[in-house]
């Protein structure tokens, strides 16, 4: 069944080393490979400089090296409507959104996938560090072999229907090997620095960026008991568990953000890493997606509440309203509304949901915002 050359794979290419090697590996395996660059954000500055243009130039260089066709598609409107609007709305609500999860759900594995299918693609491939296991018509999402790079957290909203049309050729490789492959083949992007942070913000300062879209409303910073600790720059700039940038001096620190009062525009801070206000033992989550539906009303799993966290033991209960009640084996620190909770059994990523409410001893921690 070696008809790779009749299997068309459209690779989402960002101009980075990971997607470059993705295209290279597929080309070496004999697939009919097409590279497509997605332009989702316009950051053209006053001098006409645009990082997307630079990145697309790199895509062109690599595709020419691999001798595969390349195109660019523009999803700026979809990105704005589906990802950026959500991102701003969440901040307005005092939550901490995860635009990468939304981008995968709405853009890379929806708008882009649809586009690729319209080009007669059998699969789309990306440079995500995740694996897919296809057995007897069933498809499962597995963590990437490189546990440090594993990106299943961001892929938690993809269903098996979508994943059937997906390939993650890098999932079985450690990042260092990917670099090596790029260097061995002399790919134009072999030495390119990995991008960091949220794609549309890039290297810019997060606060400055956000303030261009949402008016900053400075207010008071107090302890949970109301002791004034100074001024905050605007609630949206802070996330639960944040330690940096509070500007609180004196003894008794370090200080942490433990909550927000949106109505009164107050940021709650408390001292000490093990401050009880930071800990919780359960959560309620919506926007539930399981890669493959799960019949059991209640099941055991491990979970991540943020990217790159270690797994924690949890018990998940599927409620009749479609939401999930997740109780933790041990107390957790700084579980934050707006972030994704992602479930695993062993190496299998079961799916995930968005954290809405956080509980401790049966009480909702409404100070989390």
């Amino acid at each position: 069944m070696n008809d790779n050359k009749n299997t068309r794979v459209v690779v989402g290419m960002s101009g980075g080393v990971d997607s470059s090697v993705t295209a290279l590996l597929l080309k070496e395996q004999g697939y009919d490979v097409i590279g497509i660059f997605m332009k989702n954000w316009d950051d053209t500055d006053d001098d006409g400089f645009c990082t997307a243009t630079e990145d697309y130039e790199d895509v062109i260089r690599v595709c020419n090296q691999l001798d595969i066709p390349y195109f660019a598609v523009n999803f700026e409107k979809q990105y704005w409507d589906k990802v950026f609007s959500y991102f701003l709305d969440e901040y307005k609500k005092g939550r901490t959104p995860n635009p990468d999860v939304m981008c995968n759900k709405e853009i890379k594995f929806k708008a882009f996938l649809d586009h690729a299918l319209s080009l007669g693609a059998d699969y789309v491939a990306t440079g995500h560090y995740a694996q897919l296991r296809r057995t007897n018509g069933k498809i499962e999402l597995l963590r990437g072999v490189d546990t440090n790079k594993d990106q299943t957290y961001f892929l938690n909203q993809l269903s098996s229907d979508v994943l059937e049309k997906v390939m993650f050729p890098l999932g079985h490789l450690p990042k260092s090997d990917v670099r090596k492959i790029a260097e061995t083949h002399g790919l134009a992007t072999a030495k390119k620095k990995d991008s960091t942070g949220i794609c549309f913000i890039g290297e810019r300062d997060f606060k400055t960026f956000l303030s261009e879209y949402l008016p900053a409303q400075p207010g008071r910073m107090t302890t949970m008991d109301g002791v004034d600790k100074g001024e905050h720059d605007g609630l949206m700039y802070y996330t639960i568990g944040q330690r940096q940038g509070l500007g609180i001096g004196g003894p008794g620190g370090p200080w942490f953000v433990v909550g927000k009062n949106l109505e009164e525009n107050v940021l709650y801070v408390e001292a000490g890493e093990n401050n009880p206000y930071l800990s919780s033992d359960a959560l309620l989550a919506s926007d539930v997606n399981f890669v493959n539906s799960i019949q059991d009303k209640t099941f055991k799993a491990t979970a991540k509440f943020r990217y790159r966290q270690r797994d924690s033991g949890v018990t998940v209960t599927q409620q009749t309203d479609g939401r999930l009640y997740v109780s933790f084996d041990d107390e957790e620190k700084a579980v934050t509304p707006g972030q994704a909770v992602v479930f695993y059994q062993g190496d299998v990523c079961l799916g995930g949901a968005t954290i809405d409410e956080v509980y401790k001893d049966g009480q909702r921690l409404d100070y989390l915002g």
Partner: protein, 382 residues
């Protein structure tokens, strides 16, 4: 699968005869036309001959032809060069909002240094109204720049009428004629233009060589510095190989304009009639009163990017208006000017442009593949 090229408005294949002439000069004539020895004279002779042939093809004086690196540079030199030279006589410029970016961006630049530019709209056929030009003229207008044939939809502008209209006005008149050259006989005197842009690579000549016709009494501020070439208006060692290729291409088409026009009208109609068996195909601008080399159609219910890529994968090479910007497609400014940015037409417009390798057979084959792609995409998009 035969690849069929439909992007002649972007560029054309070199005519074999042009290649021969260019290789000959590459082998035999490498002198610098500015050198005072015999090799210099040999090279200079070639440049002079080419200049004469090109001048004659538009009924101009050979002294009024300035070689440039192509259409963009000629447009830049015409617009910016004139504006800067005559800024003391006024700072107002008139153009249209369907010009090539070589003109539009020159105007945008001039606006940043204090010039005032009027961008005229066009009617539903993509043609500027004479009355609008008349209304826009002011005492301080120094330049009117309006293209002869639009590169995206093929609409033909009333250049001769505009020329007559501003004959007694101080404003100079520039027209970008790169898409018109070769399909209509051209006489700069009859047209009433002071400046006219030409390029070789749209008429099966080489890339990297173009010309600006500049009536002798028009003065230009140079955009390049450093030599006496082109009488200082465009210094830099002459691109002799390109110039020879340009000349050869002109020789091949000059005198055959009307014949070519009729031939491509037939090809264009044939292709359109084949396509028109699909439902919801709209011709943008007009089928008949436009350039026979350009057919811009919207396949309602599809998206440009999707169609372009699919046609490419099926071996049909087309484009959508101007080349893409920043690695991604932006709405065509020409279709936006005619139909609005949000129009279904603007979002689904594809430009087919015709050229020397088209035959009835491959035109029909191309139409068959296009129809297949469009039908598949429409089904998918529903």
């Amino acid at each position: 699968m035969e690849t069929i090229y439909f992007d002649h408005a972007a560029t054309t294949p070199l005519h074999p005869e042009v290649i021969n002439k260019m290789t000959d000069v590459m082998k035999q004539n490498y002198g610098n036309p500015s050198s005072i020895h015999q090799y210099g004279r040999h090279a200079r002779k070639v440049v002079d001959e080419a200049r004469r042939v090109i001048a004659q093809s538009i009924k101009a004086d050979e002294r009024d032809i300035i070689f440039t690196s192509g259409g963009t540079e000629a447009d830049n030199l015409a617009v910016v060069g004139t504006a800067l030279k005559y800024r003391d006589k006024g700072k107002h410029i008139i153009t249209t909002n369907i010009e090539h970016h070589a003109v539009l961006d020159s105007c945008h630049y001039l606006e940043t240094i204090g010039f005032d530019v009027t961008y005229l709209p066009v009617n539903t056929k993509g043609v500027v109204e004479l009355d609008d030009v008349k209304q826009a003229l002011r005492d301080d207008t120094i330049l009117v720049s309006i293209m002869m044939v639009n590169n995206e939809v093929g609409s033909i502008q009333p250049i001769e009428d505009i020329g007559a209209l501003i004959k007694d006005h101080q404003a100079y008149f520039h027209t970008d004629a790169v898409q018109a050259y070769g399909i209509m006989p051209m006489d700069v005197n009859k047209l009433g233009v002071d400046l006219l842009t030409l390029t070789a690579h749209k008429i099966n000549g080489p890339k990297g060589i173009g010309a600006l016709y500049k009536k002798h009494d028009v003065k230009l501020q140079a955009r390049h510095f450093g030599g006496e070439q082109e009488r200082k208006r465009r210094p830099g060692t002459e691109n002799i190989v390109g110039i020879v290729g340009f000349k050869s291409a002109v020789e091949l088409i000059h005198g055959t304009e009307l014949h070519r026009n009729a031939h491509y009208q037939r090809i264009k109609k044939l292709f359109f009639n084949e396509l028109n068996t699909l439902s919801n195909v709209c011709v943008n601008s007009e089928l008949d009163e436009t350039s026979p080399l350009i057919l811009n159609v919207s396949f309602l219910g599809t998206h440009i990017e999707q169609v372009l890529m699919n046609l490419d994968l099926e071996g049909i090479l087309v484009s959508s208006g101007s080349a893409c910007t920043a690695g991604a497609m932006e709405s065509s400014h020409v279709l936006t000017a005619i139909y609005g940015e949000q129009s279904e037409r603007t979002k689904s417009a594809i430009r087919f442009s015709f050229g020397i390798n088209h035959s009835d057979e491959n035109i029909k084959e191309a139409a068959r593949r296009v129809k297949q792609v469009i039908e598949r995409l429409r089904k998918l998009n529903n």
